[in-house]
């Protein structure tokens, strides 16, 4: 697509103090570009959940965001442990988050369901011991 913008973010492992920074950054960029608020909200929710999952479950990774006129594409790639059973992971309430993470307010098992709900398209590629790549699209009408 012509004149699209591509952004890249490195998400570090276990760095909760910066968690959500990539999502916040994308959100303010979209705001400046006058993207409709409901599309911004969808991107903010789905990207934040994916970003936090990378920190908590996969030792960080890389996020690329492509913003074009009619679509925002987010690709979240990590070299974490992979997801054993995607169907189970997608269920509302399923979580393997450890106790120290739960005390921070995570671990409801709602992240992946939120990502599915608030993105218009979502694809998960995962391999045990290799990593996980989540691709999400939000359309701008």
């Amino acid at each position: 697509m012509s004149n699209s913008i591509k952004l890249t973010y490195q998400v570090s492992d276990d760095d909760f103090t910066r968690a959500g920074e990539a999502s916040s950054n994308v959100k303010s960029k979209l705001k400046m570009m006058n993207v409709p608020p409901d599309a911004i909200r969808k991107v903010a929710i789905s990207m934040y959940e994916g970003e936090i999952n990378m920190v908590i479950h996969a030792n960080g990774g890389t996020i690329t965001v492509e913003i074009s006129k009619d679509c925002i594409t987010m690709v979240l790639a990590d070299k974490g442990p992979g997801i054993k059973n995607i169907e189970q992971a997608m269920q509302a309430g399923f979580s393997t988050a450890p106790d120290n993470i739960r005390t921070l307010g995570f671990g409801a098992g709602m992240g992946l369901p939120n990502m599915k709900k608030y993105s218009d398209e979502m694809d998960i590629q995962t391999e045990i011991g290799v990593g996980t790549t989540v691709t999400m699209k939000v359309y701008i009408q």
Binding site: F16, T17, A19, G20, E21, S23, S24, K27, P37, R41, A44, I45, Y48, E49, I52, L104, G105, F106, G107, A108, G109, M110, G111, N114, K117, Y118
Partner: protein, 110 residues
């Protein structure tokens, strides 16, 4: 009710003034689990929670909450305080339980 009005009422102690006094509070919202808050907190809400860490601030910004009210005497930790200052998030605190505090604001808004 605007944030500036809520601050002036002194129902809750101000922990951080986010400089958004003109923001209109739409309604109280209560939740502690971040993924629920992320999807259910509506724009302009006053978010009542006991979670005072940096992730609360992040979710509040992403969900466009008007302010955070820390309940049950919960404290905003140091990192979260810095983040709230950086991101201009208004944070209050109270010793009241979550429901009582949210109900008090609700009544004030009627």
């Amino acid at each position: 009710m605007k944030i500036s009005e809520l601050t002036a009422k002194n129902l809750f102690a101000t922990v951080n003034d986010g400089g958004n006094g003109d923001t209109e509070i739409t309604k109280p919202f209560a939740c502690d689990l971040l993924s629920f808050a992320m999807s259910k907190a509506s724009s302009g809400c006053a978010w009542f929670t006991v979670m005072g860490n940096v992730n609360t601030i992040a979710v509040s910004v992403l969900a466009d909450c008007a302010c955070i009210v820390l309940c049950e005497g919960a404290e905003l930790d140091e990192v979260a305080t810095q983040k709230a200052q950086q991101q201009n998030v208004t944070v209050y605190r109270t010793d009241m339980p979550v429901f009582d505090a949210a109900l008090m604001l609700y009544k004030e808004m009627q």
